[in-house]
């Protein structure tokens, strides 16, 4: 297997499909979805939470999917608000959908179906003041 040159983890088409899945998930929910594919040095969970915190003000309503292909580790981190709309059980379902395809060598496809699963399971927040709208 040839070395994968830097920045070429995905083909343009794969990148586009992941981007589209991110956009769709964000349209379905009020959450922000971010995907990180790369090394999670040290404790993967701690590192993933640090990445989430690095998203700044949006971190609370963000669902971060962190994939470390080399360590074969997947971390889904939900911010404080995102956690209320997307519980850990739904995250587990999403993780399952992703790792199934990762194990078959389909990194981009796994990310896309994970985003789809998470987007479908995220509960929409109660809409307040509808009558006044």
């Amino acid at each position: 297997m040839a070395l994968v040159p830097a920045g070429e983890a995905f083909t343009p088409r794969q990148r586009e499909s992941i981007d589209r899945a991110v956009r769709q998930a964000m349209q379905q929910t009020d959450l922000r979805f971010s995907v990180y594919v790369g090394a999670l040095e040290g404790d993967a969970r701690v590192r993933a939470e640090a990445l989430l915190a690095g998203l700044g003000d949006d971190a609370s309503r963000t669902v971060l999917i962190a994939v470390d292909p080399a360590a074969r580790a997947l971390e889904i981190v939900t911010g404080a608000l995102a956690k209320r709309l997307l519980d850990d059980y739904a995250c587990g379902l999403g993780a399952l959908a992703m790792t199934t395809q990762f194990a078959a060598g389909d990194l981009a496809g796994g990310i896309v179906s994970g985003l789809r699963t998470l987007g479908e399971h995220a509960r929409s927040p109660r809409i307040l003041h509808v009558e006044q709208g």
Binding site: M1, A2, L3, V4, P5, A6, E8, A9, F10, Q14, I18, D19, V22, R23, M26, D30, R32, S34, V35, Y36, V37, G38, A39, R45, A48, G54, L55, G56, D58, A59, S60, R61, L64, D68, P69, A70, R72, A73, L74, I76, V77, T78, G79, A80, L81, A82, K83, L85, D87, D88, C91, G92, A95, M98, A103, G105, D106, I111, P125, L128
Partner: protein, 124 residues
Amino acid sequence: MRNAPRVGALAASLPLSVVLAGTALASGSPDDGPPRSNGLTTVETLGLLIGIPVLIIVVIWLLVYATNRPSGERYRPGLSWWAAPEWFNGPGSVESESTDEQQETTAELAAAPIEEVGGARARW
């Protein structure tokens, strides 16, 4: 692709067998006197029963392989990963498109400290 040499050799030998079969068929011109029995020669039999099916298999295999060939390198679990870290909708991205209305809605729910995160983890 591990099978490449084998398949290549097979593909190379196929036209030969077909040609052999063809010449054997062509040699039986009408001037050869009374026709032989209707039985096929060994070469013809091999060409018909083995050469043609194998040729069809190879053509189908090539068509499938040519159309389904994944573009670019493929991730293989267990092998190292060399690509640079990549973000989709990461920090600094302005794809976060929440309206003020949504912010207002979510603001009522969001009161928890940032440390309170959830999620899931998995390995494969």
